[in-house]
Point group: C2
């Protein structure tokens, strides 16, 4: 289960002076409001790393001095408790970033970041980012916005875990997935394995199975093959008691 902790080889770094994909930076919401010349200034500050599937970008306890931007592929963020239990925190897609915590805080990662597939990462060193923020304060404000969003999500999630039962967590998760999709569509495709979903929602795969069955039997949803789920009664899902 926690074989990931064991693997202890150093980062398989494949570093070049500049980010090979010149468009990487411009895809990132933090920067995409900038002028073209500012953008290319930033591009010149980035480096890159290539990760193979299962490679670990950083571990809890690692020191950090960089912001990591996903260029292509997917990055899985998770934490591990002393007990050995693991919890999935987030999956980063192209354009999303991580490392912000260690950047502004005590420079120690508290989570693990692992490539789910072959993944390209753009790196921006803390010192360079700091200079950027001092020079272009709008960047800092953009990052603030993003952090504020994540904080909101995280607090809502903590509250959900603290109070709501698994049924409700799943229901709200499904509705959250719906939001991403077009509002007219009533079908979502869960982007995670049940195992990962369980880890994300703080429960077990067995319980996920059972609760989805429960939701189906009560005509809230229909399970289709390929992780697709049709939402029959959105309002019903929202108002599950407790």
């Amino acid at each position: 289960m926690n074989s990931k902790i064991q693997s202890n080889q150093d980062l398989p770094i494949c570093q070049s002076e500049k980010c090979p994909d010149k468009n990487c930076v411009s895809k990132v919401p933090i920067f995409n409001h900038l002028e073209a010349d500012q953008m290319s200034e930033i591009k010149d500050l980035t480096q890159s790393i290539s990760l193979k599937k299962r490679d670990i970008l950083y571990r809890a306890g690692d020191t950090s001095d960089s912001l990591y931007i996903v260029n292509s592929g997917r990055l899985r963020l998770y934490s591990i408790l002393d007990s050995g239990k693991e919890r999935l925190l987030q999956i980063l897609h192209p354009g999303e970033f991580t490392g912000e915590l260690a950047l502004f805080d005590e420079s120690l990662h508290e989570v693990y970041a692992e490539a789910m597939e072959d993944t390209a990462i753009c790196i921006l060193k803390q010192s360079k980012l700091n200079n950027l923020m001092l020079k272009y304060p709008t960047i800092a404000i953009k990052i603030l916005t993003e952090l504020a969003n994540r904080l909101k999500r995280s607090e809502a999630q903590a509250t959900l875990f603290a109070i709501a039962k698994v049924e409700t967590r799943i229901a709200l998760y499904l509705i959250d997935c719906l939001k991403d999709v077009d509002h007219i569509v009533d079908e979502v495709t869960i982007p995670l394995s049940k195992k990962d979903l369980a880890s994300y929602l703080g429960t077990t795969p067995e319980t996920i199975s059972r609760k989805l069955l429960f939701l189906e039997e009560n005509n809230y949803i229909v399970q289709k093959n390929g992780r697709r789920i049709q939402i029959l009664d959105r309002d019903g899902l929202l108002s599950l008691e407790s």
Copy 2:
């Protein structure tokens, strides 16, 4: 229980043009690195509000355009689920601030802020803060640091709720309290009622009682009167299974 939702009177605002306590702003970590003249510039931008015990500063769903800094008193932040269950998120003490989420995000509060006793608040309008951050980017970076810290805490807490049992949550909470105190001391005073503590830890007062008893019977702690708890076996608490 949720009488707070019912009370619907408007904010009992007692507003003056400037913050009456000139030292209010300087106590806040976000600003305390600034020069004296910058500080007084900020002081001139703030307004103030006085809250009586049980007054509500803002509710979930309220629009927001201000940063609120606690000057004196205590402010209780909590959220309420559709089911009516309430969860204590944080208690703000003098010098701490809230409103940052609504500031940078979609300007809608998602939590409730209620005065636990007579409380004085300094207010900084979003537009003014924005100008400040553009003028003095270090302020934005300070706020970033603070948000990054809160995000870390929140994620750790969400993980705890997702995976750990109540025993463990209480144990870690106690140890967290210890950190605030001098390291040589082994006694903490819980700053919350058991009811609030239960709400904070996502459980019930009954369970808190029972678990504290369990911890005492197993010689991890000793309960004294007045919410004081002596920690006998810090390492033991840290390594409670599951």
